[in-house]
Structures are given as structure tokens and as C-alpha cells.
Symmetry: C2
Subunit: 476 residues, 2 copies
């Protein structure tokens, strides 16, 4: 569903008031002149893919929690709608306005408050950029528990609000597993502070876990306390070529068995992805094309043990002819080079497809995962380019489609087909990208009416005026 297709139902627009000069002056009194932007704000109105465009007239850039509280208090009293925006790297149109909502950017909320060397506990503001946090904690012998293509510009607050996944999820699990506490501001300006740095706190409802994945519809995350894992002393990658999706599953079982606790990523992509990244300049370490590719990574604390486990695994999958060809890194530089094949897919797709690129992020039981790619290819015919890749160890497929020029109507063949197919196979229509604008009207394919009704009850209790990121996730 692209921006041009979308017309918000009239009853959606609960906002009775328009932004007035007086409001802007009030915001200036809170964040200062420099914190208020009214011109050159197209970047804030446009999403990363260039598919969703809002008409906001106002961007606010607060520097601290109190300013956010003051802003929201005013917006709530005046019933002015707000879109929280972090790195604006989301893929479902969740972080840009639909109409003229005020954009509240966390760009200036980028202070690291503390890092504890012994426990590995990071406390920081929500606007810190993921890659910079990773560099910071690496200095102390730790890594961030998540890693994704947008790391250079996505912010930890956005990661939390959208429950971002990424390539380390298999090993370090979801943000639910790593968050210790959070500070956030409710729509009425109330600051909720659960920023403890202890590993266990079981007193009352686990509020941070409600905020994780709430996509800015319940409030604005301002700071977080996280437990981060130790930096692995040894990182290794095996790159494999495989000739069928069935064999990939045998390799996955073998990886769990042979690599056990050091397995940190199990990623796949198909021949179509391989051709694309090679076209855009990547070096395939293997000298001929195959049907499927795997990037399997280990994080371990003792290099010799890891190499031993990996060698046995590598020999096993080649001897058993599960894999057709492959190579193994012997140092971290090589490991990074092997990763590049997988990591550059997203950017190459964007360059290749532009606004003709349609991205679907679904999860489903492994055995039938690739059938969605084949079924979609068959349905769309040879003019569409259909790509399959993703976090196989997490049941997570990224189905990407570039539709031919001047054939916009092909979208109707894709949606709701992809969502219906996924629902029929007990999957999720959004494994990690969230709902945002793009999947709002398709939420019913992954959630029952009862679940959605419970979400509405919570939304209404926390945000009775519906000022927080309205028009996203579900209809109020």
C-alpha cells in the first residue's frame, strides 16, 4: 500500500484543532528558537523508502525529558497530534506524519548517561544512534545485542518503539530480553521512570515491555537501561552455497547441533539477491552461481574451541552434501567480507528499485517459508523481480519485489495476497518491521479481533485524546 492509495477514513481524524501561531510560540518557549523547525522539513515528512509523505508544518527537537513532557502536555491539552520520530529508518511508514501531525524528533536526545563495566549495563537517552552505542560499549568489551542494516542512523529509542530485530536476534534475542528499565513520557506529559540498572525487578506490571513495539502510539521513550552482552573474543563466518531449500533446513539442524551456544546468526538469500549485489559491485567469494546462500556466524569466547566446532560443522555439511560449495573465514576481516554479501542486499534493492520496490517482512514455519517466494513469482509473472532473503534462524523471510515501471496496478496482485498467504500458514505479516501505516489495515491477518480490541482498550486508557501517532497500527 503506497501513500497515494491511502485515504484516511474521515472518522479517524479526531483532532478538532489546527496548529496556531500561539502554539508555535509556546513550543519555542520550551525548546528555544533552535529547537523549532518550520522550513526545510521535507526530510522529516518523508520516510526512508520515499513512499510515505506527510504535510507536517512543524518539527520539534527537544533535548531532554522535561522538554518532551512540556511539549506533550501542551499537545494533549490542545489535542494536537504528534508523531515521534527517531532515525526515520522504518519501513512501514510509522515515523512520518500522515496529515499535519507535529514531528517530535529525538535527534538531540543523544547523551549516554552511564556504562557499568562489570555488569555491562548501558543507560542512555533514546536518540543515541545504534552504531555509536555499539562503538562505545565495544571500548569496554561489550556489544549491543542488536545489529541491523540501518545501524548507522537508526536510534535506540526507535529500535525499542518498533521492537527492531536484526541479525543478532537468534543469539541475543528480542529487546524484551535485554531491556532492564526505561523512561518514557505519556501523552499527558507524565514522566514514567523505571530506569533501574539491576537485572531483575518484579514489582508491578512490566511497563517497559508494553512500550516495546508500541510504535509511538502510547508515549515517547526518552531513555533506556539495557543489559548488553560481552564482546565475543572470536567471530567466525561460514559462507555456504546450497541447491535446495530443503537442504538449508538440514544445515540449520546441523548448525544447532554442532555449533550450539556459539551460533549467533543464520541468514539466507537466494540467487536473485546474489545476482543483484554482484551487479552492484560486491565480490562473491564463490566463483559460480548457486540457488541459495547461507551466512552462518559464531560468537565465542575461545577461538580454538570455536574453530574446532566450526571445522567439524563445515566438514559435516559438505561431506553429507547438504551444501554444494562454501568457504570459511579465518579472521575477522574475512568474516566481515563474507557478511557483506548479505548485508548489502537492502541497500542494493533500494538503489535498484526506488519507489517501485515493495518490501514484505513476514515470518512463518520454516518448512514452507520459501514457497511464498515461489508462489509470488508465479503469481506476478516474469516481469516482476522477486527476491527472498532473511533471518532464517528466526523464521523470518524478507520478501522484496520490484515491479515493472508503469505497472503500479501490480500491487493489487501482491496485497492482500502476501498477507492472506501468511495468515493461512500461521505466520505473522510483520516479523520485525512493525505495522505503522503500511500494515494497519492488514493487522487482522495476524491478530484476532479480540487482541486488537484489547490494544484499543489500552490505547484509550493511556491516550484518551488519541494524540500519539494517530492513524498508525490500528484504527481507534
Amino acid at each position: 500500500m503506497s501513500q497515494v492509495d491511502y485515504i484516511a477514513p474521515k472518522e479517524d481524524h479526531l483532532m478538532p484543532r489546527q496548529l496556531e501561531e500561539e502554539d508555535v510560540n509556546h513550543f519555542k518557549s520550551i525548546v528555544g528558537e533552535s529547537g523549532v523547525l518550520t522550513t526545510d522539513i521535507e526530510g522529516y515528512n518523508t520516510d526512508w523508502l520515499g513512499k510515505y509523505k506527510g504535510q507536517s508544518q512543524l518539527v520539534l527537537r527537544p533535548k531532554n525529558t522535561q522538554q518532551i513532557s512540556d511539549i506533550l502536555k501542551h499537545c494533549n491539552q490542545r489535542k494536537l497530534a504528534v508523531v515521534p520520530q527517531a532515525g526515520n529508518t522504518g519501513l512501514v511508514g510509522g515515523s512520518v506524519p500522515v496529515f499535519d501531525e507535529i514531528v517530535l524528533s529525538t535527534n538531540l536526545m543523544n547523551q549516554i548517561k552511564s556504562f557499568d563495566d562489570v555488569s555491562g549495563t548501558l543507560v542512555c537517552q533514546s536518540g543515541c544512534i545504534l552504531e555509536q552505542l555499539n562503538e562505545k560499549v565495544m571500548e569496554h568489551g561489550y556489544i549491543m545485542p542488536l545489529d541491523l542494516a540501518a545501524k548507522g542512523s537508526c536510534q535506540i529509542g526507535g529500535n525499542l518503539a518498533t521492537s527492531a530485530g536484526g541479525i543478532r536476534y537468534l543469539r541475543y534475542k528480542s529487546l524484551h530480553a535485554n531491556v532492564l528499565g526505561m523512561e518514557f513520557v505519556l501523552p499527558d506529559g507524565t514522566i514514567v521512570d523505571t530506569l533501574k540498572s539491576i537485572r531483575k525487578d518484579n514489582t508491578g506490571y512490566h511497563l517497559p515491555h508494553l512500550m516495546i513495539g508500541s510504535e509511538g502510539t502510547l508515549g515517547i521513550i526518552t531513555a533506556v537501561s539495557m543489559s548488553v552482552p560481552s564482546k565475543p573474543k572470536s567471530v567466525n563466518v561460514v559462507y555456504l552455497a546450497v541447491d535446495s531449500f530443503e537442504k538449508i533446513q538440514l544445515i540449520y539442524r546441523a548448525a544447532k547441533l554442532h555449533l550450539g551456544e556459539i551460533l549467533s546468526a543464520f541468514e539466507f538469500f537466494d540467487a536473485k539477491c546474489r545476482d543483484l549485489v554482484v551487479k552492484h559491485g560486491a565480490n562473491d567469494p564463490l566463483d559460480q552461481p548457486y540457488s541459495f546462500y547461507l551466512v552462518i556466524e559464531t560468537h565465542g569466547s575461545e577461538g580454538s574451541h570455536d574453530q574446532d566446532k566450526l571445522s567439524k560443522f563445515f566438514e559435516h555439511v559438505l561431506e553429507e552434501q547438504h551444501a554444494t560449495d562454501g568457504t570459511m573465514s579465518t579472521d575477522e576481516t574475512q568474516a566481515k567480507a563474507l557478511w557483506r554479501m548479505r548485508e548489502s542486499i537492502s541497500e542494493c534493492l533500494r538503489r535498484e528499485g526506488g519507489t517501485r520496490l515493495y518490501k514484505y517482512d513476514v515470518s512463518m514455519p520454516l518448512p514452507i517459508m520459501y514457497k511464498l517466494v515461489s508462489d509470488t513469482k508465479e503469481r506476478l509473472g516474469s516481469e516482476a523481480q522477486v527476491f527472498g532473503f532473511g533471518h532464517l534462524g528466526d523464521d523470518n523471510l524478507h520478501l522484496n519485489i520490484i515491479i515493472p515501471e508503469n505497472q503500479l496496478e501490480m500491487v493489487d496482485l501482491i496485497e492482500p495476497f502476501v498477507y492472506e498467504w501468511t495468515q493461512q500458514h500461521n505466520g505473522s505479516i510483520s516479523a520485525e518491521h512493525g505495522v505503522g501505516m503500511m500494515k494497519r489495515d492488514y493487522l487482522k491477518f495476524s491478530q484476532t479481533e479480540q487482541s486488537i480490541q484489547m490494544m484499543r482498550l489500552i490505547k484509550k486508557a493511556i491516550d484518551p485524546n488519541n494524540i500519539m501517532n494517530p492513524y498508525k497500527m490500528f484504527t481507534v
Copy 2:
């Protein structure tokens, strides 16, 4: 706070109606005669420690989700209060009635729905007993991600509702990290079903995570889908004697460094605990008493690698004189024997202390953790017996106190002292036991007024008639 001290504030008692004969008949029509108990129900009215006693006249034992839905629908219409009860092994009086609430027992909800060998996904009803689930998944090469002293009678639904921790938390993390989906019934009888078996689903609010730790105040968990970890091929234990709490912290750092990804538990207890378990028949593998003891466990996939890591760690801590004495298991039987010293503490305390036993479950930054034990000892004098043990790797201390006979007033020296001390040191007054009745009036020592107010908003939205486990967690 014992049951005798507690008088519920009058305004708490929102229930306008008493149970009538007609209600009981209606319940019989739902669960049958055998599902309705009105006599011999003292066990359901009394908590595990024998401290909290309710006066319920009615216990219901439904067998499936629909029956629970029908029961709650009736209770909600009639405004009859309900206490969900699973294994009734909680330590804060959360699972027994305060007044005459109806007990809704999940004892008969004990069906395993499915287990997937490849992905390690378990789907089961909430009344399944933890140990039985562990045995079941062990047959398939997996283990449950949590393990605690009450495993022989606690139920997975109770574990979820109270966000139980235990000895594997350090490695496999909280239930938030392992739950994939959940089925639960809201107070009005609505069945919310998110029982997917995929590892990622990011569509809408993450409702199961709100239910984890909600202690039966938002609804009743009826089934769960969980990702469970592979059974380690090699389990090893190091048992160490240490002469100061400072040295324990050095050993913890060394364990993280040397054992890395195979570290699965880091538990401690003090000399007082050691004397108690030896008195009750345990065999201390070391032949003389020391100040502190550590039980450090590893779970790994390759025995020779694990032994190598462990030996280096063991040699290191003895050579550096961080540990004074110690022993290491060479097989799983020995590992279990070493665990027994730590695992039998809770049961020995119950036998020794009876109703004079006061249990506190707190967490706080490691460096000051044991000071709470010393400060409490000093405050109470030599007649009180003060024990310190717990999940050190999770910042989690179990402070247990046996007060002398006929000195019940000593409780006033302990509470709120323990809670105030914990608050002053940025800790949590309940690391894993939850709030229940015991800590309801002390919640403010761990949560701000704003957090508690947000909990109330959620409670009111989901349970407007306040029928679900009223009088627990916080005042409505």
C-alpha cells in the same frame, strides 16, 4: 507483614454482592459437579508458607479455556471477585484469597498441546507442572528455560503470571525472552489468543508481555507458546569456598571472562545457610566451614571444550587466591550433588523456621548486596537468625530471617527497614517473587507514583469491575 496484621482498607472492598446458591449452580452447569469444590478447601485458602489464609467458600476447577471464559463472564456480570491459583507455591500471598474471593484453580488445565522437535517450540495449557514440562522436552533434547525450587508443583501459568526467575535466569533470561505467544481470558470472558509458534511477531502491542508479571490482576493465562533451549550435552559445576564478598565479585568477573557463553548459573550462599543445610542432613563436599560458598554451573555443547574452560577458570581463581578451597564435578551425578547444597536451602529454612520465617527477595547493585545482610543482623541482634543466599549473577539476594519465638514484634524492625534500605541503594524490593499481598503497601519503594498510576489506568481499562485478584499488587 503476616496475615494477622493485615486489615484491608474498607474502600478496597468494591464487591457489592456475595456469592449465592444460584451462582454455585451456574458454575456447576459450566464445569460439572466435580469441578466445584465447597468443602475441604483449606489448602486452596492457605499459602505455601502458611502465612496467608483466606475464607473462600468456593473453588472452581475448569478444564479448558471456554470454561474459564464462561466462569469469568458470570463473575464479571455479578461482580464476584476471583483469585487465579496455579501451583500455589508463591511467597508473597498472591495466590490465595484475602476475603471470600472465588478460587479459580488451573490444576486440571494440564495438557501439552504440541512440541516441535526442530524449532524447540512448546505449546501447552497453563496448568502444566514445570518439572513435568522439563521431563517432556528433555525427551526431545531440550530443557525448560527456567528452573526453581518449587518445580515439582509450580505451574507454568503461575510462573508466567508472576514472572518467575530461578537458577537458569542468568543464561536463558526472563520469561519475556522465551515466550512466543499466549492465550488468556480477560475479566469479561473475552479470550485473547496470540498462540503463534513463530519466533517473531511484531504486529501491534506485545500483549503477552503485559500479562507476564501481572499476577492474575488482568486475566487468567490459559495456554502458552514458548521457545525452549537445547539440552546442554555437558553440564558441569564448580563449588567454591570464598572468604569475603569482595572476592566473590572478582570470581564473578573471572567467570564471565573464562566461561563466557557456557556460564549458566552463578549462585552464592553464606556460612549460616551452609550450617543449616548440613544440620538438616546435606553433605558439604568441603571438610571445613568457610564464610561464603559459590555454585557455578556451565551448560555447553562440547564436553572437552567446557572442561578446558572450567579447568582454566578453576586454576585461575585458586592461584589468585580469590577462592580458598573448592571442588569441581567430573560428571552429571557429581554436578547434581554439588547443586544440592544450594538447592536445599529454601526447604531447610521452611522446616527450621515455620511461620517464624520471613523471606525477602531483593535485588541491588552487586558491590553493596551483602551489606544488607550484615546491616539486618546488626539491627536485629543475636537472637534472630539471618541468612543470605541467592542468584548473585542476577543481582538477586534472598534475605531470610527466622525470628525468635514469642517475638513477633521483631517484624516491625525488619519492615519497612529492608524496603527502605533497598530503595536507598537503587534496588528492587521484589527481584523475582512479585508483589502479591505481602509487598502491596510497599510497592512505592520500587515504583514511582507515576508508574503505579499508569498500572492503575491499565488495570481499570482491562478490569473495570476489579474482580481479578483484588487487594493484590497495588490499591485500585
